[in-house]
């Protein structure tokens, strides 16, 4: 298992390298002067030139690239253009908030989505199936911010059960969890729609396999067939696809954090985009790339663990 993890990590290095290069190029080469962005349109030419020198922008592009990669290797993500503090400081502060939100959402999605998918697969083409399919398609159509707003209106503004915005602090776990409920449901419902649909189609595939028919022919109780013969093999693609949806979840988490004014990686990125803080933006992109690669590795590992055939 350790060898597998190491192998995957080694394989990830060229990918990470390519991603870093692309991010670097997007942020540097495309028009738009970061110095101008920091100082605004009224900045004098002298102050612009001074800042450019300070930021290393007048160096040749390859030298900037080497400096940038060199910094990253040493764990230096660069300084924010706005606060002039290390970007990592801001990122480190928000990551736990994004993490708790994402984990809670995944739990909700698996808890509702897998049973939902299994039931619709078993009751294929009945009204339950149609209902769940239409609802999950509606869930796919609704952007996270809209689901969030609906929950906020009914459960917070009207019912007053949950705080509408903010995330509390980790030093007060009760308040923190209380603030987590609505955002987690929001993000969880988006993910649930994906998990339900995917589980349904995976189950339908498995149910038409020969060994399931054999199990039925042997006279096994339906429940046993479903759980031992159908759901277990179905778990492999379900796990893999859940990992992939988790990456998709990042996009929705940006919107969720924006609606509920929660601190988080997504909200930080939106802020960096608006203030044109290219360095912070670049640092956040590097973190996102890392997260995506790590999730992929985790999916690979779980895959191997669930399906012994992959252990090679």
């Amino acid at each position: 298992m350790l060898r597998l993890i190491l192998k995957r990590l080694l394989l990830a290095i060229p990918t990470m390298f390519a991603v870093l290069t692309i991010i670097f190029l997007i942020v540097r080469v495309i028009p738009g002067d970061p110095a101008q962005a920091v100082l605004g349109d009224n900045a004098t030419d002298e102050s612009l030139a001074a800042l450019r020198t300070q930021m290393g922008l007048d160096e040749p592009i390859w030298k900037q690239y080497v400096t940038y990669l060199g910094g990253l290797v040493q764990g230096d993500l660069g300084d924010s253009l706005v606060t002039r503090q290390p970007a990592w400081d801001q990122i480190r502060y928000v990551i736990p908030y994004t993490l708790e939100l994402t984990l809670a959402a995944i739990l909700i999605a698996l808890a509702i989505g897998i049973p939902g998918g299994v039931i619709t697969a078993i009751r294929q083409n009945t009204w339950v199936d149609y209902l769940v399919r239409v609802v999950s398609l509606a869930g796919l159509s609704a952007p996270a911010f809209y689901i969030g707003l609906l929950l906020m209106y009914f459960l917070s503004a009207r019912a007053g059960w949950f705080p509408a915005i903010g995330a509390g602090t980790f030093s007060e776990p009760a308040a923190n969890l209380h603030s987590l409920v609505l955002p987690a449901i929001t993000l969880g419902l988006v993910e649930t729609a994906y998990v339900t649909r995917m589980t349904r189609s995976v189950m339908l595939n498995v149910l038409s396999d020969d060994y399931v028919r054999t199990a039925r022919a042997k006279g096994l109780v339906n429940r046993v067939v479903m759980i031992r013969h159908a759901l277990r093999p179905a778990m492999v693609p379900i796990v893999a696809l859940t990992g992939i949806f988790t990456i998709g979840l990042i996009g929705s988490s940006v919107l969720t954090e924006e609606v509920f004014a929660r601190p988080g990686l997504g909200k930080l990125m939106v802020g960096a985009t608006k203030t044109r803080d290219y360095n912070l933006l670049q640092a956040i992109m590097v973190i996102y790339a890392l997260i995506i690669i790590i999730v992929n590795i985790i999916v690979d590992i779980i895959y191997t663990w669930v399906d012994p055939r992959m252990r090679r």
Partner: protein, 301 residues
């Protein structure tokens, strides 16, 4: 994949079949599609939405732009069915006009991204070699980032505006088309008819245009419907964040954002445009789902 005749056997059990009648592929596709009631509902909805977009100036009860500070922030009334926003503008009229931006951005970005992505996918598959490796690697990396993150990054670099928004969304769609165009082309370029075309001396451009593209075109057009749904959703999301079409143009995402401040007292300001957005995205998804069943009869099993 597109031109098989053995599809009828995938139906499974030996059902008593009517005497074989020859129907064209297009007829069969329409039959499968129209038997799917939800897809038909989606199609009807899309037609209605397009009509609303075209007739917005005629059917809107008020101007979407006229401000009235004295009458700002009013709830629904007989004169203003959905109330007035923070600038005193009629919410219903702004929703109707918002249809135009949503459709425009959605359709244009899918067309642009579709053309660019298809070109990349077909060229990569057809010519192979280092070009293929480089292009598809790039496509995979782009695909691994969520749409919204890519969109945000591009908007950060380009700045706001409708043209830039379209470019940003088109770029998120490009790798998807590239992936879908890539696979079938790989198979097609080995087929006899392509070899024959090459043997009679047709050049690559003609082979790509006349022999490869028509064979994957149907699939791409069909999937464009699904991507239009996500393009419209992405447009609304970026506008909601405040990085879309700049005000005062009426867009659903922007209206929802502005309305959140008054959510407790005037929920219609943000919830009503959200319903319009939801219906539109839902309609395109319904049609996309139905079309996917036409393409892949097994998936509806």
């Amino acid at each position: 994949m597109a031109a098989t005749t053995s599809r009828s056997t995938t139906g499974g059990a030996a059902s008593p079949r009517a005497p074989i009648k020859l129907i064209s592929q297009r007829q069969r596709a329409w039959r499968t599609f129209s038997r799917n009631k939800s897809a038909l509902v989606g199609l009807v909805l899309i037609v209605l939405i397009v009509v609303v977009a075209l007739l917005a100036p005629l059917i809107s009860p008020h101007s979407p732009m006229t401000q009235s500070t004295i009458n700002r922030l009013q709830g629904p009334s007989a004169e203003h069915w959905l109330g007035r926003d923070a600038f005193g503008r009629d919410v219903l009229s702004r929703i109707l006009y918002g249809t135009r931006v949503a459709l425009q951005v959605g359709v244009i970005s899918v067309v642009l991204g579709g053309i660019l992505g298809t070109t990349i996918g077909v060229v990569a598959a057809y010519f192979g070699g280092k070009l293929e490796a480089a292009l598809m690697r790039l496509v995979d990396i782009m695909l691994s980032f969520p749409d919204l993150i890519t969109g945000l990054l591009v908007m950060a670099v380009l700045g706001s505006g409708m043209d830039k928004l379209i470019i940003a969304i088109a770029l998120t769609i490009t790798p998807r088309f590239a992936r879908i165009a890539y696979g079938p082309t790989l198979g097609l370029k080995e087929k006899e008819f392509v070899e024959a075309a090459r043997a009679v001396g047709q050049n690559n451009a003609i082979i790509l245009g006349k022999h490869i593209l028509p064979n994957i075109g149907g699939e791409l057009v069909v999937l464009a419907s699904l991507w239009t749904a996500s393009a419209i959703r992405l447009e609304a999301s970026l506008s909601f964040i405040g990085l879309g079409v700049p005000p005062p143009t009426a867009t659903w995402g922007q209206m929802i954002r502005e309305g959140t401040t008054y959510l407790a007292n005037l929920p219609m300001l943000s919830l009503a445009p959200g319903v319009a957005l939801l219906i539109t995205v839902f309609a395109f998804n319904l049609v996309g789902d139905g079309l996917r069943d036409v393409l892949d009869p097994r998936s509806k099993a």
